[in-house]
Structure formats: C-alpha cells, structure tokens
C-alpha cells in the first residue's frame, strides 16, 4: 500500500484472476449447496464534472463487490457484499444458502453455466485505468477553451476501470478487465442556444476534448434565438444520439427475451416479419472491438453476436440461461447480475450503416427537422413500441434542403417501429452514443419521413 507525501494513486489496481479464484473459493467451498456462483465486480475510476465553465464536482471511487448465488434443488438465494475476501465470500454464500432453504424451487431453474471458453477481447488500457485528476482537468480545460465569448460549458469527463469475474461450482471460470473513457458536454450561449457533443471509448487516447468542445460550441452558436414552431408530423434527420434513444428503448420493449416469451414484447407474433425499413439492421455483439464491455455475461456465458432485425425483418431476441430454458434455446450470453426478475438485456447494440452523409439527408429534405438528441424519454405503450420525450441541445428547421434556423424544443410521442419503418436514409458513419437510461449503442444518423411531435416547450 502506497503512503507518504507523493501523488496518491488514482484508485485500485487489478486483483487478477488468481486473487479472484482465491476469494471465490471461500464461497465455492461451503457445504450443503448443489451449486454456487460467485460474481466479482471490482471497479475504480474518477469523474471530473464541470458547469459554468468551472470544475465544480470531481470524484474518485473504488469498490469491490461480490455477488454469490446458491442453488439447492432449484431453490435459489443471492447475497452481495463488498467485503472482497474469502471470508466475505463465505459469509455471503451462507446467507444465500439460508435464503435458498426457505423458498420454493424455481421450476425454470436452468442450473449454473457449464465450463466454456470465452472470447478473448483486449479492452483494458492501463493509461485509462490510471488516469489522474490532472489528466481529466487538462482535457476539460481544452474543451472549455473552444467556447465562444459568452458561452459556457457543462459536462463530465469520466475514466473507469473494471474487472469482472465469474466462477461457479460447475467449473466455469472467467475473468476480464476493461476500461472506459467518456466525455460529454452541453455548451450554452447567451441567446438561448445550446449544443451537445459526447464521445465514448475504451481508452483516453481516443478522447479529443477540443473536437468535442468545438462540436458543441458550433451547435450552441447555430441554435441561438430558436423560433417557436407548431407541433405536428415532420420529416426528421436524427443524429446518432437521437437514433440511440430509439434503439435503446426498442431493446427495453422488444429485444429482451423474457418479455418476448411472455407475449409482452412489441415483437409478439412478428418473427420473420418486416418490422422496419429494409435498410434497418440491428444486432447485439459484445465481442465486437468497436463497442465496450466484457466477453461474457454475468452468469459466465460467452457472448456472441445475435441478429435482432436484419434488413428490416425481425429475427429474434436475447436470452439468459433461465429464459433460454423456457424458450427451449441456449442462452445468448445476455444474463444480468442475479437475481434479475427483468430477465436478459442486450448491452452492446449496433445499427447497420448506410451510404448517406448527414448533409445529404438534409439536402434531400423539403421540410423537416434536424434533431441532435432526445431527453428524458420514457415508454408510453410498450407493445406498440411507443415512447415520449423531448428534443434538446440543438433542434433545427430544414427547408428546401437547407438548415434555415433553430427551433424551440418539441415533445414527441412516437412508435419506434413506426419510425424505423419510415426510415428513408441511413448514415454511412456510426458512433457510440448514449441514452439517458441505457448503455451506449453504436448507431448512425437516420432520416425518418414521418415523426410525430405532440407538444412544444418554451426554449
């Protein structure tokens, strides 16, 4: 352990697979259990937060969580602790065993994951794991320097490292580290303009803070003094961040295996049917180097590519071990930490690219709106895939193929599948884009011929 007056290390260091195995053994060796599973999540990182062009909240955090699942004849209990020692693991295992003893057997219990090799994905960058407060502050300063006079920046620069391991009594053992860096900003101007830009990457090396600042600043300048426009149906060009909202919520209401096998998915009865324009393909692939995350799920099942919509046709959903058993298929490697009543979820979504630039989409639009991103969206009717939300940080009117000026923010209420069926152009470049409630998806811009705006705000 470091001590003294030198620079403090920014957080943890990898425990490594051997140490994880030693800790997990404390749980795996308890008696009186048919099956034991140990999930390790050790994470550390820092976040430099800024507002009004000042750094105002900066934090660092290190935590090590163990989640132990014990099964006895299909009776299952789960206990979690952040005492990452063999004794801590054993205590959690005994607590989970106690819970398993008093509950009825789960008729759908699939058993623990069998031993299997997992894909090798190198997503750990030491420089990112060790990023210092000064490194982040310098990047934030570079971003803020791109603000025009009178504009101010708010946002956050986060660097994170995580190691995840799964060990179980069936002999499965997997462990992987990864890192992530993300920089998000909203720049606001004195005349009601605001602009948004973000970047997600596995390494700080990919973070160009100046470029992010410039992009947001240019949006803020262009969106000053927005005019009011009536709600109604418009053609829209959605930038990737807005597309990510549609894709993220479609995962929630459609691609999750549990809702699908229970008849609650918006894809109920639509397997093999055309549900979107032929230019739309969506899949999940945790092994693709262009996304973030781990090569196995939280049950220790290897991840693999799953086609969800191919050329506009609905192909299938994702499963964990329990829903896979119910559906009579294998897990696709999309299990979340136990217990998980919501079931599996796709965390590495992709939308296929097309051949258009955003400028070409604008040029081809007689009258419509360019949307930078959506804000605080939520489900209206899950089986109709309809959601509502607001536009934010750069919404522009397009007339006769040109952006003619900024407009005040709209509320939309729209079926996602309806929008995807109305897509006429798909962007040629994809980027990792976040959604407020979900993980980042790698998606392009799209042009949607008919999109329903049902209200307006005052800014």
């Amino acid at each position: 352990m470091t001590s003294g007056s030198g620079p403090a290390p920014p957080g943890g260091s990898l425990l490594g697979p051997d140490e994880f195995r030693r800790i997990a053994e404390g749980a795996l060796s308890i008696s009186g259990a048919d099956g034991v599973e140990v999930l390790l999540m050790h994470e550390w990182g820092g976040l430099t937060r800024f507002a009004s062009s000042e750094i105002h909240q900066s934090t660092s955090r290190e935590d090590t969580g163990l989640r132990v699942r014990v099964a006895n004849g299909g009776r299952v209990g789960v206990a979690a602790t952040n005492e990452a020692t063999p004794d801590g693991a054993a205590t959690a295992a005994r607590s989970a065993r106690e819970m398993a003893e008093i509950v009825a057997a789960d008729p759908h219990w699939p058993g623990l994951a069998p031993a299997a090799s997992t894909p090798v994905v190198d997503r750990f960058f030491e420089g990112t794991a060790e990023a210092s407060p000064a490194t982040r502050a310098d990047a934030v300063a570079e971003l803020i320097a791109r603000c025009d006079h009178g504009c101010t920046a708010a946002g956050a620069y986060e660097t994170q490292a995580v190691e995840v391991g799964v060990a179980n009594s069936e002999g499965q053992f997997c462990w992987a580290p990864s890192t992530q860096a993300s920089l998000t900003t909203v720049i606001t101007g004195p005349d009601g303009g605001s602009g948004f830009a973000e970047i997600f990457a596995g390494s700080t090396d990919a973070i160009d803070a100046g470029a992010i600042g410039q992009r947001a600043n240019d949006k803020a300048a262009a969106s000053a003094e927005p005019r009011a426009l009536d709600a109604g149906t418009y053609t829209v060009v959605l930038e990737p961040a807005a597309t990510a909202t549609l894709v993220g919520f479609l995962a929630w209401v459609g691609f999750a295996g549990r809702a699908y096998i229970e008849g609650r998915s918006c894809f109920e009865g639509k397997e093999g049917q055309q549900v979107a324009a032929p230019s739309i393909s969506i899949w999940d692939d945790g092994t693709d180097p262009r996304t973030l995350g781990l090569p196995f799920d939280f049950e220790g099942v290897p991840k693999r590519k799953v086609d969800l919509i191919a050329d506009g046709v609905f192909r299938g959903v994702v499963y964990d071990r329990r829903t896979g058993k119910e559906a009579g298929v294998d897990s696709t490697g999309h299990g979340l930490p136990a217990p998980n009543p919501e079931g599996p979820f796709p965390l590495h979504l992709f939308m296929g690219t097309g051949d258009a630039t955003t400028e070409e989409m604008v040029r081809s639009t007689e009258r419509g709106l360019l949307v930078t991103r959506f804000h605080y969206s939520n489900i209206v009717n899950p089986m109709e895939s309809s959601i509502t939300g607001m536009t934010r940080d750069g919404t522009f009117l397009i007339e006769r193929g040109e952006i003619v000026g900024p407009v005040r923010n709209f509320r939309f209420t729209q079926s996602i599948l309806g929008a995807l069926s109305s897509v006429s152009m798909v962007g040629r470049d994809a980027e990792l884009a976040s959604e407020f409630f979900f993980s980042a998806s790698r998606v392009p811009a799209v042009k949607v011929e008919e999109f329903h705006f049902t209200g307006v705000s005052d800014h």
Binding site: T48, H56, E62, A104, T152, A156, Y376, T388, G455
Partner: protein, 479 residues
C-alpha cells in the same frame, strides 16, 4: 466507524485540506419478489466504505474507498486533495460554505419492528398469498408481489468538529397484476406502482398495507382494462389520485426548486430549471390553493433524517405559499447565492458519493374534501390513477405522464373505464389551473426510492405527502 470518519478527516487535513468532512457508512438491503407463486428473487446486500470531501483553495475534491485499513484511508484522503487541486487548473469562484453549528448527535428512524429480523418465511408467505389471491382472477397473466427493506448507517465527522451517527430504515411493499391478451398488456399496482409504498419505518408499515386484502381487486382491475377503450384525446378537467399527484409534485415542483439545478450545476445531465435565483417571492408557481412544503422532519417520509450529509439539522421549509414561490432547496455551498443558510437538503447515495441537493419530503399541504367529494363536485372530466410513465423537459416545463387507469366523470360520477391514459402540460400553467386539493383524509406520505441525479449517477430516496387534486383545461389522451 466514527473512528474511520475521524481518521479520514485528519488525513485530509494533513494532506492540505482547508476543510474536510467524511462519511463512513454501511448500507444493507433485502429484497424479495414472488411472481405467480414462484420465487423470482430473494437477495440481501451489504456495502461498507468511507468517502472524504475536501476544500482546498475553495475547490472541492471527493474520493471514496471500500477498504478501511489506515493506509487506504490515507491514500483516499490524499487523492481527494489532489482532485481539489486539479480543479484549480481552470479559473473559477472559490466555494464558500454558509455556516453551521458543528453537531455532536445521533438520530435514527423510529422503528417498531426491525424489518431485517422478521423471519424470511413470514415475508415469503405474505407474498405467496398475495400472489395466489391475484391469480384467483380469471384471465390474469402475472401476479407479482414484492418487499424491499433498506438500512443506511452513517458516521459523519468534519474538520469543524461535527460528529454525527445516523441510522435510516426504510420498508416497502406492493403488488402488481398484469393481464396480457390480443396484442395488449395492462397493469394495475397497489398501493402504488414501481414496488409499492415505501416509508421510513419498520416492518409494522408492511402490516398496514393490506397486500392480500387488495390483491383480488387489483387483479380484476388489470383484466378489466384489457377490454376497455383507450382514453380519448381531449382538453378536459383532470382529477388525479394521491399516488399520481406524488409524481406530479416530484417532477414538476421537487426538481425545479433544487438550487444546484437553478445555478446550472446539473445542466449537462438531467438539466436545469425554469426558475431563476431571483424568483423567490415574485413568481406565481400555482393557484392560490397550492402550498408546498419541504419537511425533513415529516414522520414516515423517505426524506426524513436528523441531519443532512453536511451535518445541517433537518428543517421544515415553505416552498410555495398560496401559489407563490418562496424558497429553493439549498446546500451549504449554494445557499449564500440567495442570501440564506443551508436548509439541509444535501444528501449522498451512500458512502461512495458526493452529497448533492436532494428533495427531502416535498409535500402539497392538504386543503379540503375527499377524493370522492372532488369527483362528486366535477360535472365533466377524467379521473386518472397510479403512475405508469413520466417524461419532462430539461427545464422542467413541458411534461407528460401516463397512468394505469382512468375513468370518465359525468355528473359527479365515474362512468366509462379507459386504458392507456396520459396527459401533458406546462408546469406553471398546469399548477395554475388547480382548483381543488384534497384534505387530510386522503393525504398520504408516499416514497420515491429511485430518484436519479448527478454524475456519476446517484439514486435518492425522497418523500412526498400528496392529496388528490383537480386541474382544469388539461390535454389528455396524447397519441
């Protein structure tokens, strides 16, 4: 654990902090879910650690660790100081804290029956029976029942000399009935949606909920919704039950009055506010029937405590008085901007997070009449109950809420049942149209245990006392 907090403060001061406070803490939780009389999930969780916050040259730094050995506490304190020094790479006004008398005190939620010592067998039996009762209803697809218990123990110390020990206990439970058929899904929840009714209390609260007694009714209502027509689209009079009023207050009053949002400190994430720092006493927020209070002393509220996470004693603060906006929620850092001292709303999501301004218990003051009397006094309109969805813009102006069920009101009586109801509005216009607020008979202290804010994301546990309310000229049935 108070020793751990003291050690962190001392280490921070040694490392160069001008001011430091630290919270050592342990969070414990237990959650049980039964669905169709099968155990969906049962789990317990504990998490311990310490977080240290420092000011160096007027700049904040915060660092937290789960490892409590002395060398790690010292590393964490030094890291907090480094973070604060790094913030000085950009120009900015130094943080000034409004004063607070350093307290040496302890406080704990009044609990009659420790929820963590009630046998698991008893809890499981309750949920199984509630689920079984719902499953008696023909046509019901899923009958879910759940219980959640939470306890946060915090030891706070500051370089000003404060030493505070607090234990907050929350208990909650609810049932949820889901009917699926013909490409449709309908849901009814009791006593409220999203895991039921959570209060600052022990297991005695669970015994008052009537989860078994109400189960069959809730199941029947879910099935009935499948064959109901959609809520029509129109501008009409809207009556909300207490449960939906809770979230209406939360989103369109509770968040906009947070002074950090008003000052732009949350701009890039959840957004800011339509209010400005100079609006106290000069902005009409609502009709004169609407008075709202922030009360961290309210019995049973999830926002009830002895001291906030800056060591400021709990307070009761008028927010809206007869429709006029009077006060923001503030912290020691922000209160000076509006010429006040902190009104004790700075709270963190446990030991690993920096305190932020969070709602305490933001409640509408009861007026007169029961829900039945408000409906009886309404000639034409729509009555909506139990939240299902929410969305609001980045300045908390334009909102849209969905509810689980609605009824047509004709001549003071409920007539046609509707499914998929929702409504939309503009915050000051909507609250300005309020012409009835129910009385104490139907005023309920609800809990919102899942309020998201901040980066990294934090989950806040906040409360709202709410009566039914009536609003005029509201757009319903948005599609």
């Amino acid at each position: 654990m108070l020793d751990v907090a003291r050690e962190a403060v001392d280490a921070a001061r040694t490392a160069g902090a001008d001011f430091a406070d630290a919270r050592a803490g342990t969070d414990e939780s237990e959650s049980l879910t039964v669905r169709n009389q099968e155990m969906e999930g049962i789990d317990r969780s504990t998490s311990s650690g310490v977080g240290v916050r420092v000011l160096v040259g007027g700049r904040w730094g915060f660092a937290a660790t789960s490892r409590l050995e002395s060398a790690e506490i010292e590393r964490t304190a030094r890291l907090a100081v480094e973070i604060a020094k790094a913030a000085d790479r950009l120009p900015g006004d130094p943080v000034t804290l409004t004063p607070v008398e350093p307290a040496r005190a302890s406080w704990r939620t009044p609990v009659k029956e420790d929820p963590f010592t009630v046998p698991l067998e008893e809890k499981v039996a309750l949920l199984m029976e509630a689920s079984r009762q719902m499953q008696q209803v023909p046509g019901l697809s899923f009958a879910e029942a759940g219980l959640d218990f939470f306890r946060r123990s915090t030891w706070f110390a500051s370089s000003d000399g404060a030493e505070i020990e607090q234990v907050v206990t929350n208990s909650g439970g609810g049932i949820e009935a889901t009917a699926v058929g013909d490409g449709d899904m309908q849901r009814r929840s009791y006593p409220n949606s999203f895991r039921g009714h959570v209060k600052a209390a022990g297991y005695e609260h669970i015994r008052t909920l009537g989860l078994i007694q109400e189960a069959e009714r809730i199941g029947s209502e879910a099935v009935a919704l499948l064959s109901a027509p959609d809520c029509p689209s129109e501008v009409t009079t809207l009556v909300l039950d207490s449960g939906q009023m809770e979230l209406q207050i939360h989103e369109s009053i509770g968040h906009p009055i947070e002074l950090d949002r008003v000052l732009g400190m949350e701009e890039a994430y959840a957004g800011s506010s339509w209010l400005s720092p100079g609006d106290r006493g000069s902005v009409r927020y609502a009709s004169d029937l609407v008075s709202v209070t922030a009360d961290a002393t309210l019995p049973g509220g999830l926002g009830t405590f002895g001291f906030d996470d800056e060591g400021v004693p709990a307070q009761r603060v008028p927010i809206i008085v007869d429709g006029m906006f009077e006060n923001f929620l503030s912290s020691r850092e922000t209160a000076g901007v509006v010429g006040q001292t902190s009104n004790a709303t700075s709270r963190a999501d446990g030991w690993s997070h920096l305190p932020l301004i969070r709602m305490t218990n933001i409640s509408i003051e009861p007026r007169e009449g029961t829900l039945a009397e408000i409906i009886g006094d309404t000639d034409h309109g729509i009555y909506m109950t139990t939240n299902s969805s929410w969305s609001i813009d980045d300045k908390r102006i334009n909102f849209q809420f969905g509810c689980e069920q609605a009824w047509r009101i004709e001549g003071g009586k409920l007539t046609t049942l509707y499914k998929n109801p929702n409504y939309t509005g503009i915050t000051p216009e909507f609250w300005g149209s309020c012409d009835a607020v129910g009385g104490a008979e139907d005023w309920v202290v609800w809990g919102t245990p899942n309020c998201g804010k901040g980066q990294p994301g934090q989950v806040g546990r906040v409360g709202h006392g709410a009566s039914p309310g009536r609003f005029r000229n509201v757009q319903v049935g948005v599609r």
